[in-house]
Symmetry: C2
Subunit: 433 residues, 2 copies
């Protein structure tokens, strides 16, 4: 089984073959002190695209990820090259260098077998699950805004010399297959009559029909898609929802950057914010089913605001303190108050645009997670159709309303206020049939 | 000499070795009806980076371009990979497909020898030379605006599906060496105290010192450099000055796209406009030396205006008529007046930004061609220091003044009016010492 012809790459590892592989790979067996036989291995079974194995010994543990030449979710029906794991590994290594506190360490990558071994995260859980259970994350906004500022600044023209940046852009420019999924699932299908869409029917039928015939909305989404296609501002995680974050109340790690590509910074921040807001909109339904959850909704809105303000603050600080050979280095770094103020104004004008993008991409994410192909557990776990439809309807209406506003005027407070208003008015009104 | 080990690639062809190569390459000898011995070959000797051979027989002719692993201008001192010829060939083939009337046909490409054969253009001359001789080009604006609209639209998200576009972007993402030249010579050196800069001294010393300590100007240029680094809107020629255009009064061909890379559309149009305006500013000096040239300056300003208006008109028409699987196809192509008007407004908002970029890049080009490393014959041919300084000073002042205006308000008419005003006031005032 463990031949080196490369044909093995199309085969899923099992417990025996993985143990044999670990035993024959000194770098990995070394992690376990050479004691491979007694390792406990299980495949966690919930990856959309890949297979993930947890490998635990008495003194150490690793998470191993294997990509096969198809999407796992499709049962083999949808071909995908294994190259995605190479992009993920490279992105993890870059992000780990820039934001070491918030990215798991990569221990091993085997291109031939499409296998990557990374730090095992324990007792971390997936953030989406934690939020569904109303666990408070008092440090999350601080952690993730640090991660975002360090990774987005560090891969942008604010930090890198032009040639160094172009080399990185070229390295990720071929991660096209996964970008295609993003482009189709986020920006195209939900706004067209695609058979891949699904929503709570018939409750949302009217809203979906309206949305899909709203020309102004579709043009706004086309502009956001175009921005995703034509900007290479920074290396994005590319899929930064609450399922790509593993955390405890004290520690935050960002995983799974297989969609990594250069794009507009607001895309990453917006996807994250959109997913937190979906959970916010689900709160009344959770309360109706399992009872009072305290001010968890307020906690979410506070996180959203602090993510943005923390990011903007830390990003601007990095531009001041770590200009490197970046875009502003030609403006006389050592020099006058005039130059310092000018550079500062430049960075803040840039951040103004990132904020508008963040708000807009958050809204698109809320829409596509409600009526497109890929939904989230935040809503899917709500058993009662009426309660779920009420939450979904409110988040849809909120997102559509915000996207209809003139471009360039929103604040993160507006976004949170609108979310609160739409959630409350949904709570007061009986659900329309 | 003609071995196939690849070592030959580092050797310049001479008449004998090139004849032997043509004889042994059926596709090329066929062009000349097999009569290779009688071909007349000469190296034209004026390439900055490469060697160019004109090969003429009785019935046919070809232009052959050879790239060596260094910049020709540097005499071998500056290493450059031969890959640039691969990018040039690929770009020529794409542009020739999109704008066949205005791009020479490629007949042959030999990667091993870094040799490319293209259509021989006769009786075409280089446009810069024609403008210096005050030759009128009544169809140029129409031709080049067609070229620009067809090439920029055809390689953009307005025409291509997302994945097809990403493949093309990735193909050109490694043309990094030549981008580095653009970034340094256009956006960096002229605005810093670089030993590579040169200008008419001492006449321009004061203006240059002012410009290089103008923080607001340098921040504006940093924003334009950032845009060049972070946009992948369309495949640019990348070096579209009047020396990259060969024409007759009736035919226009664009050559030499070795700097091809995806970038903001306004970069290509702006570089072209900037070079035409440099020649406009040189007109009074030509008149002072060789006498009245008639309304040639007016002809240039009319060309600049028609290039923009022609481009905008043709680009918008292509968006309407050839939407393909592009960014606006999701907005219901077949549908209502509402959708049609919405798509049209989208395209025109996009063109508004391209126009602002065009004006800005034109100004940066005027500055760098006057005080940076690479000047143009338009000014260099003016023997009289005083006359040359007067023209240069006027174009510098004009460019700096326009770049100081608030972003987003300029029209192409403003640009031409400002050029006329600055040129006239320079003509009226005695040149400052």
């Amino acid at each position: 089984m463990m031949d080196v012809t490369g044909t093995i790459a199309a085969t899923v590892f099992n417990e025996d073959t993985l143990k044999a592989y670990l035993a024959s790979t000194p770098r990995l067996s070394h992690v376990f002190g050479g004691e491979v036989d007694s390792l406990r291995i299980h495949e966690i079974g919930d990856g959309n695209l890949n297979f993930v194995f947890f490998v635990r010994g008495d003194k150490a543990a690793l998470a191993l990820k294997q990509a096969l030449p198809y999407s796992r979710m499709s049962g083999g029906a949808r071909a995908l090259t294994c190259e995605r794991l190479a992009f993920e590994t490279k992105a993890l290594q870059i992000f780990a260098r820039l934001a070491p506190a918030h990215v798991p360490a990569v221990h091993h990558y085997d291109a031939e077998r499409s296998l990557m071994a990374q730090e095992f995260l324990s007792p971390h859980i997936v953030m989406r699950k934690g939020m569904i259970e109303a666990i408070a994350y008092p440090h999350f906004a601080d952690h993730i805004s640090t991660y975002l500022a360090q990774c987005l600044h560090g891969t942008s023209d604010f930090a890198l010399a032009a040639t160094e940046k172009r080399e990185l852009v070229a390295d990720f420019a071929r991660n096209i297959e996964l970008c295609e999924i993003t482009e189709r699932l986020i920006f195209t299908e939900p706004f067209t009559n695609s058979p891949n869409n699904r929503w709570t029917s018939p409750a949302l039928d009217g809203q979906v029909a309206q949305l899909q015939s709203n020309v102004a909305l579709k043009l706004r989404v086309a502009a956001l898609k175009q921005k995703f296609l034509t900007r290479t501002d920074a290396l994005l995680h590319g899929d930064l929802h609450s399922g790509s974050i593993m955390l405890t109340p004290d520690d935050t790690k960002v995983i799974d950057p297989e969609f990594a590509v250069f794009g507009p910074m607001g895309f990453d921040i917006g996807i994250l914010v959109g997913n937190l807001l979906l959970n916010y909109f689900a709160q009344p339904a959770y309360e109706a089913s399992v009872g009072e959850r305290g001010p968890y909704g307020d906690h979410i809105l506070a996180m959203v605001q602090e993510i943005w303000s923390g990011f903007a603050f830390k990003f601007a600080a990095l531009c001041r303190e770590a200009p490197g050979d970046g875009i502003l280095s030609c403006v006389g770094l050592e020099s006058s108050d005039d130059a310092r103020q000018g550079r500062n104004a430049f960075v803040h004008a840039y951040l103004d645009e990132v904020l508008q993008d963040t708000i807009s991409y958050a809204c698109v994410e809320m829409i596509r997670r409600t009526i497109g192909r890929a939904h989230t557990l935040d809503y899917d776990l709500i058993v009662d159709d009426g309660l779920r439809a009420k939450a979904e309807s409110a988040s849809l209406a909120c997102a559509v309303e915000i996207l209809a506003r003139p471009v360039g005027v929103g604040s993160i407070t507006d976004l949170c206020r609108a979310s609160r208003d739409f959630a409350r008015s949904a709570g007061r009104q009986p659900q329309m049939p």
